[in-house]
Symmetry: C2
Subunit: 211 residues, 2 copies
Amino acid sequence: MPRNRRISESTVRRLSIYYRLLSGLEKEGAPTVSSRELAEKEKLTPAQVRKDLSFFGSFGTRGLGYPVRELREKIARILGLNRTWNVAVVGAGNIGSALVSYKEFQKQGFLIKLIFDNDQRKIGSSHKGIPVSDVSHLADELKAHHIDIVVIAVPGPAAQGVAEEAVSAGVRAILNFAPVSLKIPASVSLRNENMSMELEQLSYFLVGGNG
Amino acid sequence: MPRNRRISESTVRRLSIYYRLLSGLEKEGAPTVSSRELAEKEKLTPAQVRKDLSFFGSFGTRGLGYPVRELREKIARILGLNRTWNVAVVGAGNIGSALVSYKEFQKQGFLIKLIFDNDQRKIGSSHKGIPVSDVSHLADELKAHHIDIVVIAVPGPAAQGVAEEAVSAGVRAILNFAPVSLKIPASVSLRNENMSMELEQLSYFLVGGNG
DNA sequence: CTTATTATGTGAATGCGTTCACAAGAACGT
DNA sequence: ACGTTCTTGTGAACGCATTCACATAATAAG
């Protein structure tokens, strides 16, 4: 059990995958699963799966595999999914609105508590029972509602300002949908979801990787 | 100029980043840019930038840097952004609708030509001038409209079926928003955009990487 | 024309994630 | 009980991306 070891980002990403897989297996009533079975479902190697899991201890049984329910619960604890998180969405445009309605988040314990916008026509209205607040009160509201994660869904030029407000309010995790690179302290965790970039990767593949 | 060389996925991802940066610099009228300047804007190393660009030739001038306009155009050709692509969105729910309204795609030359759904109440209506078609005619319509890229924005359980239809219609690139792992031939390029997973990564960071 | 400065391009070194390979352990049938 | 089969856990080998370091070259100033 190599504790104290730094876990690579790729390993954490795959933990999410294992979690989803294990949730499905648990519903099906499977008592155990082998690294080979997990690997086949996701086009990984069995060694990769075992190595990933071994970073957090050894919960497998040789000759049998891993206990589905226990492993899922263990990964939930590692990923912090055995609790709820308070989320705020900034930007009530197309993407922001879609995120608020996206039911997967609630299911996983990510509770959207606040929505912000700068459009007076939107402020005061509500999406799915969550009122749209004025973005000019961003920092105060984030603090008052103990928001853990801020989702930025505003136009590119506005994103950096929102990020800085969020950081100043003590937020330590940001999910950014704006197509810009945010400058924030290293102590804040940032993930970018840039859909144009994803399409560009596909485009590169389609033209065969050259010009 | 190390041609014939396989370009790593990370390099291609960064090309998208350089492209965005260069577009901005071009608007500002900057004639040239150094690897150091590019690196500083994105928290990369200058060596990384130079190595990435060197895979496609050497367009820099020692002592001066890279010509902004030429480099942007070169990267556009490499990524296949000097043309348009026909895109279809499957699923007219929250995410699908948001994508159709997302203006960045059109700007980059990704033209959404078709939207599909299985809900009779939605079929026939239109989003942003694009009519919603019946998903039961998926393959035929994809072929008829020469769709290059299919965006899957349907509930998890329906995603695999949609992917298979798309592949059977000759589609070679898929952007998947459904939280499942799609099984498709290796000859088809697939990118996953799983927003729950992004939040889970943030959650892992917030709990400090242990349970 | 010469010197100082800046910045590219790239082989070599480094670091890190993935895969290999195998010893060790557990279950199951005979 | 014993051998066969299955599967984990992990050190070692491997491969690939990143970083280093420097020769090379262009500009600018005096």
